[in-house]
Symmetry: C2
């Protein structure tokens, strides 16, 4: 089968590899039909993070169940499924507590061949896979709207939820990448009364507005986005939704928070050596809540809204490529030509 | 009058200075009878923090109202009062929201002569002063138990509360200084089922046990206090009460937290340049909550328990000095001979 293999910064290739097989009773094999390139894939692509070479990549799988081990109960051959970026057993104390990202038996897609490929082996299939109802199994519009639930939509939701966004909240979403845009959708879905989106790209901020932002602040053209947010919000907000992970974004998040407020964060912390603004949090009793998003926990609720027609994150896919052209997808995301790339397998 | 003046590291002196006078309609003048030396006073005393020299010091005043401005309504001449380490107006949005440490008109005792002196001018007297009921006004035992409410008891309470300690909680309190010991008292008062105290001094950990800790871990004799706490708690706790503020204490706090848990913190962050363990928080979705403790907000509730006889933090005062000998008090705390020093004026 074909699979995407990372060979070094700027170098991803589709290569012929062995097709995965069932190895345990709770495994499933999924034939992938849709997957995506993630902002976090750009870290190794850009050489910003270490990663073994060659190594298989991708962590946002959607497809059709091809085979299941004898203990698998919740899905069967032919089912349309997708899976979160983190593999969880579904049965340990943390999975049951809604935190499958801390699963006691957690694994990574990288250990199982990566999801940017024709097939993937899914360990803990009952805990990991989300089954799409049959009537939507081949509904292409529904599938494109569900694909972000594998990662960015659940992540944006986790950020908004961690920030305490609720009915009537006024909040600021920091970041206009795919996660930030999903954060806007999530804040609107959670009932935010007013959403200010902070980003660095005019076109992406326009999409933030289409997703429900009431106002936007473009940090690329404003000297002090924090001051502008404060003007727009009568001095700041109680809920800052941090969707980037960089030190500067964290500074903006705590900077726009009112004393006693909460920063919800989901971006993997990077560039924070010596830069985490702990003193700003401390001085004004701003709470920091969030972390790796347990998107599996949110998948069923978010799917219900997607299938019900009230949630559609698919506009974040501004480019689609076939698997064979995935290198072009990486290039387009790296050069910010595309917000997020959908890959058809 | 006499007042304590800081002249440089290791050099505090009691000197004759001008007695403060009312300068505004919401001022009060308090004749101080009791005050204390704080762990944070040791920062300038040790030269670990910059402070103007000469400057007046102290921020834990208790005494008798001597005079009030014409707008002061809640206290009058002759009342027994104490005040938190932060001055708040009591009327702005943050004071009303229970966060007087972020008061829009907040001031510092240093701006008003410091509290380690015979008299102090109290701005925003109605918002700042806590009135002790008359029947306890001269009850020396009650007064010594109330004095920690000016700072460390309210701070320990804020840490426990920020960590989410509640009825039935299992928690870890990190730090065996006055704040950590008060954190143990606070956790017990909030209903914790089981408290593990982590410190570095056998005698202080013994006091932690007297205050309600079920188990103690001495980091000075154990190579890995985190592992020991995990043994004692079947893998960690949901509530870590961080009462130090150093990077190592924060690492212990997040290290003993289970995924999805909360670190409550109140120690002014120090020594964290490059050292804040953000990745540990992120990976396991551990929440960081707390900050400068709004002790004024807690004073009435804590006072009710002190006067009712169910809360007594006074054993943290292991040494008492008269104002004239305050330099000896600083020395004793600096050399860890005393946990906390009570100063009689």
């Amino acid at each position: 089968m074909r699979a995407t293999v990372f060979h070094g910064p700027g170098d991803v290739r589709v290569e012929e590899v062995d097709r995965p097989e069932l190895t345990g009773p709770d495994d499933a094999i999924v034939r992938i039909t849709h997957t995506a390139i993630c902002g976090s894939d750009l870290w190794f692509y850009r050489g910003d993070s270490d990663r073994e070479t060659p190594s298989r990549v991708g962590h946002e799988p959607m497809g059709i169940v091809e085979a299941t081990g004898e203990d698998v109960r919740r899905v069967r051959e032919g089912d349309r499924v997708f899976a979160p970026f983190a593999i969880g057993c579904g049965e340990c104390q943390y999975c049951r507590a809604g935190l499958p990202t801390s699963c006691e038996h957690g694994e990574s897609w990288s250990d199982h061949g990566g999801a940017q490929s024709e097939y993937v082996r899914v360990p803990h299939a009952d805990g990991t896979l989300v089954r799409v109802p049959d009537r939507y199994a081949d509904d292409e519009r529904a599938l494109e709207a569900l694909l972000p639930l594998t990662d960015v939509m659940g992540t944006g939701h986790h950020a908004a939820r961690s920030a305490g966004v609720d009915v009537g909240s006024e909040c600021v979403v920091i970041g206009d990448g795919a996660v930030g845009l999903c954060g806007v959708l999530a804040a609107r879905r959670l009932g935010a009364k007013r959403i200010v989106a902070v980003g660095h790209h005019e076109d992406r901020l326009a999409l933030a507005e289409a997703f429900g932002a009431d106002a936007t602040v473009d940090g690329s053209t404003r000297e002090d986005p924090i001051e502008r947010v404060k003007e727009l919000t009568h001095g700041g907000v109680d809920h800052a939704v941090e969707c980037v992970g960089a030190a500067s974004a964290m500074e903006t998040a705590v900077g726009v928070c009112r004393p006693g407020g909460t920063v919800g964060y989901v971006g993997v912390p990077h560039g924070m050596d010596g830069g985490f603004p702990i003193f700003e949090f401390f001085t004004d009793n701003v709470t920091l809540q969030g972390g790796v998003a347990p998107v599996r926990e949110y998948a069923d609720d978010l799917m219900a809204d997607v299938l019900g027609g009230t949630l559609d994150p698919s506009p974040i896919f501004t480019k689609t490529v076939p698997l064979d052209d995935i290198a072009e997808g990486y290039r387009a995301m790296d050069e910010r030509e595309a917000i997020k790339v959908l890959v058809r397998v």
